[in-house]
Subunit: 332 residues, 2 copies
Amino acid sequence: MNRQVILVSRPNGIAQADNFAIVEQPLEPLAEGQLRVRNRFLSVEPAMRGWIADAGNYSAPVPVGGVMRALAVGEVVESRCAGFSVGETMCGWFGWQQFATVAPDAVVRRVREDDLPASLALGVLGINGVTAHLALTRVGEPKVGETVLVSTAAGSVGSAVGQIAKIIGCRTVGIAGGPEKVAQCIEQFGYDAGIDYKCDDIEAALAAACPDGVDVYFDNTAGRISDAVYPHLALHSRVVVCGTAAIPAWDPWPNGPRVERHLLLKRARMQGFVIFDHMASYENSVGQLADWVRSGKLHYLEDVLDGLEACPDALAGLYRGENNGKRIIRLP
Amino acid sequence: MNRQVILVSRPNGIAQADNFAIVEQPLEPLAEGQLRVRNRFLSVEPAMRGWIADAGNYSAPVPVGGVMRALAVGEVVESRCAGFSVGETMCGWFGWQQFATVAPDAVVRRVREDDLPASLALGVLGINGVTAHLALTRVGEPKVGETVLVSTAAGSVGSAVGQIAKIIGCRTVGIAGGPEKVAQCIEQFGYDAGIDYKCDDIEAALAAACPDGVDVYFDNTAGRISDAVYPHLALHSRVVVCGTAAIPAWDPWPNGPRVERHLLLKRARMQGFVIFDHMASYENSVGQLADWVRSGKLHYLEDVLDGLEACPDALAGLYRGENNGKRIIRLP
């Protein structure tokens, strides 16, 4: 038998626990060309909100009644597919379920870093770390000595962005919610300065932390934090639009202060980044990230929940800010 | 005696005729290192609104009581400056006045195109043409076969953008106000399609004119036209933020539909362009533009007003949409 987390209704806004159900399904025999993976770690991503949403997105919406789309790490337990052997560890689009029966195109990569925890393939050595690395370097294009400002700075993408920017030689400033997360930014992720977005005067905090302006703004929020940041953009600065976590819904489409004047006056650039455009560089990026992890230059935090039962509320909990580090589900 | 147009009060919004006054001043003797230019053509630019505004801009505001800043073309009538000879034609920051007494850094360039009208140095062979050329190619980065959408498409920048995009091999769509300007876009500037932004349903018009989406949006407006365009951006599209003519004032700062989600979903880029960053490429660009003018590939329209008396209302008239082509003032 297989146990699966199914999307049972489409949420308006953030998916809550009751938008999902756990079901049991018999495991069908494997067809030619398929492989079966026993999942050990399931990922929980802020981007799942978009994968579920009915509105246009960069991937087709998860159908109601379908297994929740998710990256996962597991081992091949059965294979009728050349090039995949039982016992190999894979990271791929295996979904929120115990066993995944998939074609090889669901596999993102073989997990080869045997000296490091396999769960990292979902975080700092996975979509989060690779997004941080490639979005920062390709869209942000930080230069030595520049100020890099990161929103959701203690999150799984943001914390990697801050550390990679530091490795590149930038001054790093992290924005996070509450004094504990701000302290974490500085103590665990090496930010030069931290800003609590729940403070009374975020404008003054930004001006104090970024006296020469912001050269690279790596953003995962797109809400009032960004609105406060844009006036602080430096000449020829770059804004990496990597997520819109601060916007609960895009229907009705929300308004905000117009950005065009900032972009014109500062000759600044704003650009969206989605990792799916950069999969050809994934393996090289993981190799670089793994080296940084091994040499102690790149730290990570994992927020581990146990069992498939934790899945339904895990995404909502992420948006409630409960997690401390990359949220993953560990399966027995 | 010299006659000058002075800024007598700072407008809130668009400068009107009564924000200026015409005064007479005796011509002082030339100091060592100065040259005197007799202006023949004065420029009128939408960007003047920003040069006058008190708010931060890419140049210091014109002081109240000072001569209105403007590009002009004229001939050197007196020189105490090595390298500048009486009789040479110069384009530079000579201001709205009959005679300019300036240091050589006010000169933008010598006008060498003796076979073409000198006034073109203020339009298609000047800041407008060079802005169109460099902003389109460097920020817009159009590729053969792509759809390039231009707002203020019949204007002095926009009309050059549309024609240069056509030379590059793009499909061009122009947005302009009213059926006459739309017809002008197609008949005089070779756009493949035109959109009247005063029409009932600009969304439907955009969808019809850009069925594969917009690859490059060259914008001078930043208002409701842009708001309608953003949802039509194609994957990996580029928005050139060249002006904000549709926003009457930035105090209070106006709101509009948030752009971040479009940029993320389409992995699109928005970037500001100001010609002052690209002055090193000015001469090369003028050379290219002049070749296109000579070969009949690049057309232009001039809207000529006569005499210094026309200056005070000329900018307000531009924002009233009165001009038909690049507005210049001809002096006797």
